[in-house]
């Protein structure tokens, strides 16, 4: 899938460009490292093969195993504090919708528990089976059956607590999300057709090549983690993803796109005084905000408002703030995303400047503004070494 952003090479010449780059760096720093990704891939692959093996007790149901959630959507963020990454996998059986929901759950549990290694780290949750690996992951396996009446990727999932089926459609949701990502982006192609019994994880798309919408979701999750100190039950990831996807208008500039999404959400919620429903765009019977009460709704609105205010302060500084330079702007950004992320992003920016400097690609334009040496009117910055104590 071909993605965006060929203009990265130039040095930002205005505030908006600088913010776009900085926000992108914050996202990149927040993602799984390549090692962590490989690790996740291995674990996922092993579980998938175990479930779908020919000698598996599930084999007669032709299990289809595929990822869902942030790994699939490309919107992972490093969890807050010491919490772990969530890796989500659907284990979809066939010809099983006539069975009672708990039976399906137990069949999948049975197969997982038949593996000694898995048995030791296996935990039964409300809708999934959790594998608690040592280290920074857990992997949630969701037993499911196809929803034959609805089709197109709709599934039904056993709920152990309520002893009933819950409806979902992770494939459909992903398709919807990637469609939203490609709004007005003529370069992109959505060829994510899922087939086969064990789906590979989306290959680690080089970090630079993500859609603005994926970045927006990452930033919303990161600010959510800061604002709620790691609490994820109010501003659930699926809610943030749905809202971002619904309000994204196709802007290429990350800062402008993020601002526009937050403005859109703010305006929509301002018109709804009581708890709204946030419906699954591919499955309107599912309300993602079904656990919200008025208090939680107000907290969510505060989160959005806090984000908007901080972002706009960074984008549109007062004259006084502007005179205080980078320090002042990064104050707002640190409040939004955490000081560590912002500092790491600055460090990465410095490394890029030095790379240009060392390869003779750094220049100054009229008035002494740092720019690329190939820009019209620029002169190179000659090699130098700063001196002094």
């Amino acid at each position: 899938m071909l993605l965006v952003e060929p203009e990265r090479q130039s040095i930002p010449s205005n505030r908006s460009q600088w913010l776009d780059r900085h926000l992108e760096r914050v996202c990149i720093i927040s993602e799984l490292t390549p090692t962590e990704f490989r690790n996740a891939e291995q674990r996922y692959g092993a579980v998938g093969r175990w479930l779908a093996a020919p000698e598996s007790s599930l084999a007669i149901f032709a299990p289809e195993v595929y990822p869902q959630g942030s790994m699939l959507l490309g919107s992972t963020v490093r969890p807050y504090g010491r919490s772990e990454y969530d890796l989500d996998l659907v284990c979809q059986l066939h010809w099983c919708a006539q069975q009672p929901p708990l039976t399906i759950y137990d069949w999948v549990h049975g197969r997982m528990a038949a593996n000694e290694t898995y048995r030791e780290i296996l935990e039964k949750l409300k809708r999934c089976l959790r594998l608690n690996y040592a280290g920074s992951f857990h992997l949630d396996v969701l037993p499911a059956c196809p929803n034959d009446q609805k089709g197109n990727g709709s599934i039904i999932v056993p709920d152990r607590k309520l002893e009933c089926w819950k409806h979902s459609n992770p494939k459909g949701f992903a398709e919807w999300f990637f469609t939203q990502c490609q709004i007005r982006d003529a370069l992109a192609e959505a060829d994510r057709v899922m087939k086969g019994s064990v789906e590979p994880l989306p290959s680690p798309v080089p970090s630079e090549y993500k859609y603005p919408l994926q970045r927006i979701v990452q930033l919303m999750k990161r600010h959510r983690d800061i604002f709620f100190h790691g609490g994820r039950d109010i501003a659930r990831s699926v809610i943030l993803t749905t809202l971002a996807g619904s309000f994204y208008k196709g802007q290429r500039s990350l800062s402008l796109a993020l601002e526009s999404v937050l403005d859109g959400i703010h305006a929509a919620l301002a018109a709804i005084p009581h708890v709204p429903r946030i419906l699954n765009p591919v499955h309107p019977e599912e309300n993602f905000a079904d656990t919200w009460d008025q208090a939680k709704y107000e907290e969510f609105k505060s989160y959005i408002e806090n984000f908007r205010r901080g972002l706009k302060a960074a984008m549109y500084p007062t004259m006084l703030a502007e005179r205080q330079g980078l320090e002042k702007s990064t104050e707002h950004l640190s409040e939004l995303f955490g000081a560590d992320r912002v500092k790491d992003a600055i460090r990465a920016e410095a490394a890029e400047i030095n790379e240009r400097r060392n390869s003779g690609k750094l220049g100054v334009g009229a008035g002494g503004v740092l720019t690329g040496v190939s820009q019209a009117g620029a002169i190179p910055v000659p090699r130098n070494q700063f001196f002094g104590r």
Binding site: I11, P12, S13, N14, R15, Q17, W18, E322, R323, Q324, G325, L326, E327, S329, T330, V342, K343, I346, R347, E349, A350, A351, I353, N354, R357, L362, G363, V364, A366, G367, G368, V369, L370, I379, P380, V381, P382, N384, Q385, F386, F387, G388, R389
Partner: protein, 128 residues
């Protein structure tokens, strides 16, 4: 100097050239009031008058400065700077870069610009 930096004013008084003007290295930086002083036979110096650059804590030092308002932009030797060089093509770009790293240092406490320090009193080569 003025053709590349039109907002600078330069004046010569008794063999001392003083150029003064505003410098904003990038869109996120402050605008600095810069003074470049150059006397033939000596090294150019840059002063940022007033309290424009500040240490991280009171009494602290700013990296790569000769004093509280004077950045060190180059190692004083003929290899770095000669009198046939243009201020606009050396001092101004180096200062822009220095200020960029200075502002980053203010945020993270780390200096990314590299450089050398003089720990002992060294004999500086005379300017040529």
């Amino acid at each position: 100097m003025r053709s590349r930096n039109p907002e600078f004013c330069c004046d010569i008084d008794g063999g001392l050239l003083i150029c003064r003007g505003p410098l904003k290295p990038g869109p996120m930086n402050a605008t600095y009031d810069v003074m470049i002083r150059y006397r033939a036979g000596s090294w150019p110096r840059v002063i940022l008058p007033g309290d424009q650059i500040r240490p991280l804590e009171p009494g602290g030092r700013i990296p790569h400065t000769y004093g509280p308002d004077e950045p060190c932009l180059f190692y004083p030797s003929r290899a770095s700077w000669r009198s046939d060089m243009k201020l606009s093509h050396t001092i101004v770009p180096w200062l822009s870069l220095w200020l960029t790293f200075y502002e980053m240092w203010r945020v993270t406490g780390e200096w990314y610009g590299g450089g050398v320090s003089h720990g002992k009193a060294e004999e500086l080569e005379p300017a040529a």
